[in-house]
């Protein structure tokens, strides 16, 4: 019985560790022109849910999303608290009511880095292992 409890505890810890590892595997990146090296999680959520078009310091920002993948799912879960389908429905609703636009989406980390590097105000995310040359890695507080 003790062994069983130990295994269950170890399993739970492993799952929690995996979740943490997945969450930390997402890096928020921005165009190097962004003044701040960090953003608040509220600002980040507001930008990606199209309720904000600028950060607290007044910098105009444009969200860029990955089309799919583990990094995309992890980002949505950790920072937006929505599933991919819920976010899709949310954006469709914004477009239908004329209150917003569909965000720019890219297919891969490389494309994300390339787009964010050359687009003023662009803010996106990549996996933790992705190279981030030409963009600024932003800390989320």
């Amino acid at each position: 019985m003790r062994h069983l409890r130990g295994h269950i505890l170890a399993g739970v810890l492993l799952v929690m560790a995996a979740g943490t590892a997945q969450a930390s595997d997402v890096k928020i990146i921005a165009n190097p022109g962004l003044a701040d090296a960090s953003v608040s999680s509220e600002d980040l959520k507001g930008v990606f849910l199209a309720t904000k078009t600028s950060l607290a310091n007044g910098s105009h920002v444009e969200p860029v999303l990955l089309k799919s993948g583990a990094t995309h799912e992890a980002f949505l879960k950790q920072f937006l608290g929505k599933s991919d389908s819920a976010l899709e429905t949310y954006y469709r609703s914004l477009v239908f009511t004329g209150k917003g636009s569909m965000p720019k989406t890219v297919a891969s980390d490389a494309e994300m880095v390339s787009y964010v590097a050359k687009t003023k105000g662009a803010i996106g995310y990549v996996s933790g292992a992705a190279p981030t040359e030409g963009v600024k890695v932003v800390e989320v507080k």
Partner: protein, 159 residues
């Protein structure tokens, strides 16, 4: 005037009173007829028009709901429901325009709404239908979708 005797003065006073009474009665009658005419127009034209307009507006709200279901939740049945409700809206508006006794300018306004509402239904059905058929095309068509949203806000059926 000072040469008139007291009897003539009394008769003249009575005459003025009677004349005033008659004039007042005639004016009252004319006003009554006008009020009756207004009430008749209200009961026979304006009240039914208001009721039908409310029906049309409710149908329009259902149309928007149907299109929203089709676009936002990808519910194909939403398009069909919107089309049915759209026909109900146009039928209600046409019946408003056909009400006898409705002021001509109001009737013209309703005909204008029928025309623009019909155009909206056709355009929206085609556009949302194409988005429903190919969801990935939404980003390319969002300007047209936004234009339709703007139309919905600007067009007021109750005007």
């Amino acid at each position: 005037m000072s040469k008139l005797n007291i009897t003539a003065k009394i008769w003249m006073s009575i005459g003025v009173f009677v004349l005033g009474y008659v004039l007042s009665t005639i004016l009252g009658q004319i006003e009554g007829v006008a009020t009756e005419s207004t009430l008749r127009q209200t009961s026979e034209a304006i009240f039914p028009a208001a009721q039908k307009t409310q029906e049309a507006e409710a149908a329009f709200q259902r149309v928007v709901k149907g299109f929203a279901d089709a676009v936002v939740t990808q519910d194909k049945g939403g398009l069909d429901r919107a089309a049915e409700d759209g026909q109900a809206m146009l039928a209600a508006l046409n019946s408003v325009a056909a009400i006898p006794g409705l002021p001509a300018d109001r009737s013209e306004q309703v005909k204008h709404v029928v025309q623009s509402g019909g155009d909206y239904l056709t355009e929206a059905h085609n556009l949302y239908g194409s988005v429903l058929a190919d969801p990935s095309s939404m980003a390319q068509k969002q300007d047209q979708i936004r234009a339709l949203a703007s139309y919905r806000r600007s067009e007021n059926l109750a005007r």
